[in-house]
Symmetry: D2
């Protein structure tokens, strides 16, 4: 017996790569595909599994994998969120020891390769821009929570960004900037209201396109005095336009573009030639939520003191 | 003015790569190096930075970078933890708007290239095994918290692992296993007691070596009925032997090694030839802590409901 | 003095990340960007640099980096190929010891974020699909050689692929396939004729778009009996439609999609649910060139015996 | 029929991950493991496979995978080189259309976790330093060629490196250095003589350890005036001490460590605090071989003009 306390624990099969082909049209020659990476995590009554080697309460991770593929066939994949909701509910409702299930999904987008000469359409090229994400948590006690998101969406404004008026201490050497490139690789997550999560008819794909559009537009249209300000505008814009989104969290690395000093070569450089740096980088993170709502999106490695 | 609430937010310069050379011996020909990747995150009164473009409370991320390098010179790098404590305290104590600072550090270990023919020693080869980590959080209100860790430590038992007696549902096809390879890539974090964190003389390097040793030994010595059980043994062992460690969290991907079916070729395979798979993989995570202690290590992307 | 022979050697600065902003429109509010990763390799009379520590013939790699940025300002970046030609010629013509220069370039494509409400256009989102590549070699003796290319272009046909009629030996267990997914991540390189390389007015961007289009169309339109056959059709199509391209080399990993066996769950799987595997993978490589032309594109790690 | 010429082509299964457990001691409780990543490439009479969809000459890549695992059982894995020789000879000798086979292997090293309390030894931790490589080519016409190597071996001298006396042109700004850090991540390949390759009793593991030792020692002991000079010394040392090695090729990225300017903070920096940069980086490559020997190791993406 343990002298110590087993606290939060979870297990499951991670990164189940599933591609679903759906044939449409009268003769099935119009193909549609969904390409997901599905991770399962189960929480519940697993004390004996850890302490005594008794696996009676343990649904094998292999079974969770099988379930992902079988559900792809049985229920189809309408959207990452809808698919995750089905899976999360299934694990909790089918096995007593499982009290909560969290499904995390990445979706890779494809677009068609146009083949004008034929009716059959089954050729695709991976879009390769952002990765869409979804995290669905279903708990016996607290119900359903759906957090959608995206990552690896790289954006740049080649002007309309300044940075000045900041604290100068004894370690400050940074020159104030009145015209700089602002670039970042967006990781965004947004939590849906219970209304949306529990609405069987919610159009998750449409919701995704809408949030993505507002994130991009807010980034482009904000005249920025700091990446923090841009972050805030992006989150605000989503909350303003998407009534069923309650909370937005953004993780924005500042992809620095440094103006190259060309003076040694007798050349000017009026915001033309930049060096795109990798590391170190500024990292700006923040959550904005509706008033009266409890934020639910995990902050990055936050220690709850 | 925002209609919404700005909640948890933080910013700073991430991944400052610093190498510190210290010359020892009478003539300085005995070199020692520490090789760190230091990330800074500041939390505090940054509402205006986000809302109005007023940067009066903003210490630039560039300054936080400069501080890392200047502190390397001014104070040296005794250990990742000691260095992080210095930095975290500095940011909070030197600027009023900064209420909390979190320093995250990766350390890359090097060992000497033996050159028996000379007294001078300044040649090194990167050890390349695990990466040591440290996360130091200093808050104006709650004080100091130190979480040490390691990642990318890959271990394997080529026998003494079984897995059976688990739930079988309609999606279960896994065969019970009575002799299998158990392999994982360990990510571990352990939280130190306030006693250790606040002890200026604490030997963090010695503490690190001790925890690492017990993690490895517990993995090797546990006859395992599940990776959960191994996880629990590893955490227990650390708590048993390291009185100033209060809590251990482990993240253990199950690096599956599948016995290859060689029957089609007229060959047996008595636990000899394995296929080492990449994806999908089981993922087992858990926290064990001393009784009466509040766990502080963030769980992975946990949604606090 | 060395008792041995110093054979092929080269050096230079690799991975210079340069972003060039060009302002157009009467007021310069219409921005265009090119985003390159430029690597320089110099070959020539560097024997003493290696043998005696005499650097008199060594142009520092740091200088080659400076030259990339200065040329970005002085000459602009019309295309990766045109920029590489300028650089390669410069190094060889400006320093006697340098007999040959090879410039390798990756280009990252961006598209505009539409902001209908304003005339100024300076907001971009990284396209994120394939990476465009170019390799320009200029030699004092053999002149100019231009190889264009792309990588990381992932494509899939969800049907119209078969594989059967192959050799069966004692280690063969593969079942013949009459309807399978064919997916690959295309790396392509194509060598231009001297006519194209030496034509100062050659439109490299147009040429790139054309080759890319034919690669995609050939992949989509080929009813495939092997990935080798698809490779051959892709190369042929480019040679057929692009008279100034002399040679095409393709590197096509077979991104296997395995039909999941759902029978244990009482479910059929008529080419609907696939597992997308990572490793191991088939790897198909080949060169096709015009008759009478000497192939110049390096094969992958080929040992010339 | 093709109007064009099908030139160099090859195919096979890449990245077959195989782990072999060998039980020793009277009761088999002393385990030894070898952990390889094996890639197969076949060359030969594959014209019809590409042109007509006739696969009669095509041994499936799946079969080449099966062969790797079956050979692991049938023949064991004495060393990467010995295993690769067996496989390469097999493919060429067993199927008429296959004229040449190239096997490329990566080996991941493990060391034991010491468990003093028990006789059974089956616990390992991955060493994680360099990756050992081997490339074995067997051709019907030209016989056997064995190239061994290593990669990802990161080394550093914290002094005894200078760089000056180089060309200064109009783009040169680099300051001469009389004491700098020299660090690189070594990729090395070395070709064995036919005598070694054809010697069934050749001890490939011993040979590997010896070359590795001399590479490290030469790096450490060379007082360097350029990375080129260090490269040359490393290659020379191997040729001097390993009579059955005919040729060495090294690829040495210059992992720049820049001395941080701490003057703005009123601090000196006498070669103590460095910034370890990622990109851009110098890249130095070169081949040294015995006199009278034809170099066989592929240079990186060399265009044969």
């Amino acid at each position: 017996m343990s002298k110590h306390v087993l606290a939060q624990n979870q297990y499951g099969k991670a990164e189940n790569r599933i591609v679903k082909v759906t044939r449409k049209g009268g003769d099935g020659s119009w193909h549609e595909i969904r390409d997901l990476n599905v991770s399962v995590a189960l929480r519940g009554e697993f004390r004996d599994v850890h302490l005594t080697g008794d696996n009676a309460n343990c649904l094998p991770t292999d079974t969770t994998k099988n379930t992902v593929y079988a559900f792809g066939k049985e229920h189809g994949i309408e959207s990452p969120e809808a698919f995750g909701i089905l899976l999360a509910r299934h694990f909790v409702s089918s096995q007593a020891p499982i009290r909560e299930a969290q499904i995390r999904i990445e979706e890779f987008a494809w677009e068609r390769i146009p083949v004008p000469t034929r009716k059959e359409q089954h050729s695709f090229v991976r879009k390769g821009q952002e990765v869409r994400t979804a995290q669905i948590t279903y708990s016996e006690t607290t119900g359903l929570q759906v957090v959608s998101g995206l990552k690896e969406l790289t954006v740049m404004n080649s002007t309309d960004s300044e940075f000045h008026g900041y604290i100068k201490d004894e370690y400050t050497t940074l020159q104030e900037a009145y015209d700089r490139i602002l670039a970042t690789k967006v990781t965004a997550r947004w939590a849906h209201s219970a209304l949306a999560a529990d609405d069987a008819g919610h159009d998750w794909d449409r919701s995704y396109r809408k949030v993505r559009k507002h994130l991009l537009e807010a980034f482009a249209e904000t005249y920025s005095y700091s990446l923090q300000q841009t972050l805030h505008q992006m989150a605000e814009r989503v909350l303003d336009h998407c009534p069923r989104v309650n909370e937005v969290r953004l993780n924005l690395p500042n992809k620095h573009h440094f103006l190259v000093d060309l003076e040694p070569f007798g050349l000017g450089n009026d915001h033309e030639v930049y060096f795109a740096a990798d590391r170190m980088y500024g990292l700006i993170e923040g959550t904005v939520h509706r008033d009266g709502v409890q934020p639910v999106i995990a902050t990055s490695d936050w220690i709850t003191a």
